[in-house]
């Protein structure tokens, strides 16, 4: 038994995973991942809201441009998009900087990560929110109109609260995808959880320990998110009888 314990390296694992050792690096990586996920998800929500309204109520040009945006982004693998957007984005910023007589700009990994994943998230959020807005009974919007509410107030007071119940499950999915897509940023050298894990593992040769630990951290994020979104969904669906019956 002790032999097996030794072989798997579990005894050494605790030491390796301590905060003063590699464990601290993993947690820093997790913090970076979460920071990007939060930023990208938030940016995606904003893009998605404008995108959904643009697709539903915009003119022909707006709708065509948005159709191109959502189609292209959703058609190309995220990894490829990250490489394209990251290098194209930093190239453009450097060109602009040079044009104004500045030198090369060091692009912050967090900002780049948020921008790249935010653009990806925005395309999916556009479709999630468009579907949710369409699910709001027309009568509720008509009632708001008939009582003299201006368009923006209708959006703020009626459409958005009424669509939330339909949007939350889709948005919860997007959030989980955002947390895991941050791992793809390892390819551009951003020190998020996956890259930190790889570095720790290859430095110590304790692959099993570190990838298991990383997997556990991702799982914890998912479980915690699930609990939070369950509460949000309950709030967003206030007033709707639950499918199981009984009061909400």
């Amino acid at each position: 038994m002790t032999g097996l314990f030794e072989t798997l390296g579990l005894g050494a694992s605790a030491e390796l995973l301590s905060l003063s050792s590699w464990g601290g690096n993993l947690l820093r990586g997790l913090a970076n991942s979460l920071q990007i996920a939060v930023g990208a998800f938030g940016m995606g929500l904003v893009i998605g809201l404008f995108g959904a309204y643009g697709k539903l109520y915009g003119g022909k040009v707006t709708r065509d441009l948005l159709a191109i945006y959502t189609t292209v982004i959703r058609a190309v693998p995220e990894l490829v998009l990250i490489l394209i957007l990251y290098y194209v984005g930093s190239d453009i910023i450097n060109k602009i900087s040079e044009a104004f007589g500045g030198g090369r700009v060091e692009i912050s990994g967090v900002a780049a990560g948020i921008w790249v994943l935010g653009v990806v998230q925005g395309a999916y959020a556009t479709e999630v929110l468009r579907g949710a807005i369409k699910a709001v009974p027309v009568g509720q919007i008509e009632a708001a109109k008939s009582y003299g509410m201006p368009a923006f107030m209708i959006m703020r007071r009626v459409t958005i609260p009424a669509m939330m119940g339909f949007a939350v499950p889709g948005l919860a999915n997007l959030w989980l995808i955002a947390t895991k897509d941050t791992a793809l940023l390892a390819v551009v050298g951003f020190s998020e959880l996956t890259l930190e894990t790889r570095q720790a593992a290859s430095s110590t040769r304790a692959y099993f320990t570190f990838f298991l630990a990383a997997g556990f951290l991702y799982l914890m994020v998912t479980l915690f998110s699930g609990a939070v979104f369950a509460r949000i969904e309950k709030w967003a669906r206030r007033g709707q009888p639950s499918l199981k019956g009984g009061s909400s």
Binding site: P137, G139, A143, G239
Partner: protein, 264 residues
């Protein structure tokens, strides 16, 4: 009520005009639903609009507050003409929003805001559109809910109420804006038969207190009882109109006779 209506019908000129519709046309694509309708409702009038399905009665009502954009025509609310563009859409969004706050609509499908409680539904427009102080709006909303028989249901969400209760809440929401005229679009058509009565009772009370109302309805007995003017629409035109006793008691046109016998 009958005597009051009769008395007011004899001297309509002394009362202010609440709603005037002139030569209203409305087409959906190639289909012309309204083919030139004229209508005047004075303050305190209860005008019932009857007609078969597809006669344009709901469309006419919805054109008055521009939920539908008229194709052409003129609409005057409380003496103020709604400025229209050549295509019939309101020229000023500000103006139409202001006018809409004076016209409270009650819909066939209630259209309460399902994510808000009854109280929140009733105070929504006063607080956010009319900028009434919240405490004042809440106090008034409570009174109105009691008035329509929904005292104690303030914190209930619409989905937990019967159709009749939801419609009475919708009427409370309409009253909360202190409208100069109320537009009822088939308020009992979506209700189970046993729930129709409770809603009609509320509307009857409102008529009795002299509220100006336009009422699109299938309830002929009710129209005859509460209205002081009845308009019969047939295929987008006013076929016949007059006081209820005449219109129901002695219909002139063949179509109206047929319509009245078919709806019993």
């Amino acid at each position: 009520m009958d005597t009051a209506a009769a008395a007011s019908a004899q001297q309509p000129d002394t009362r202010r005009e609440a709603i005037r519709v002139e030569d209203l046309h409305k087409s959906f694509g190639d289909l012309e639903v309204l083919k030139g309708v004229d209508l005047i409702a004075h303050q305190g009038d209860v005008v019932a609009i009857i007609g078969g399905s597809g006669s344009g009665k709901s469309t006419m009502l919805r054109c008055i507050n521009f939920l539908e954009t008229p194709t052409s025509g003129k609409i005057v609310i409380g003496g103020e003409e709604v400025a229209m563009r050549a295509d019939g859409s309101p020229a000023s969004q500000k103006q139409i929003e202001r006018i809409r706050t004076k016209l409270a609509m009650v819909f066939q499908q209630f259209n309460l805001w399902t994510h808000r409680t009854l109280l929140e539904n009733v105070i929504e427009v006063p607080v956010h559109v009319l900028k009434v102080p919240k405490a004042e709006a809440i106090e008034r909303a409570r009174e109105l809910l009691v008035r329509v028989g929904l005292g104690g249901k303030e914190d209930t969400f619409p989905a937990y109420l019967s159709g009749g209760q939801q419609q009475r809440a919708a009427i409370a929401r309409a009253l909360a804006v202190d409208p100069s005229a109320m537009l009822f679009d088939e308020p009992t058509s979506a209700l189970d038969p046993e729930l129709v009565g409770e809603v009609l009772t509320v509307i009857r009370d409102l008529a009795a207190e002299g509220r100006t109302m336009l009422l699109v309805t299938h309830e002929m007995k009710f129209a005859r009882e509460v209205a002081n003017h009845v308009v019969y629409l047939y295929q987008g035109r006013i076929e016949e109109q007059g006081p209820p006793a005449e219109l129901f008691g002695n219909p002139q046109s063949e179509r109206l006779k047929q319509f009245l016998s078919s709806v019993g």
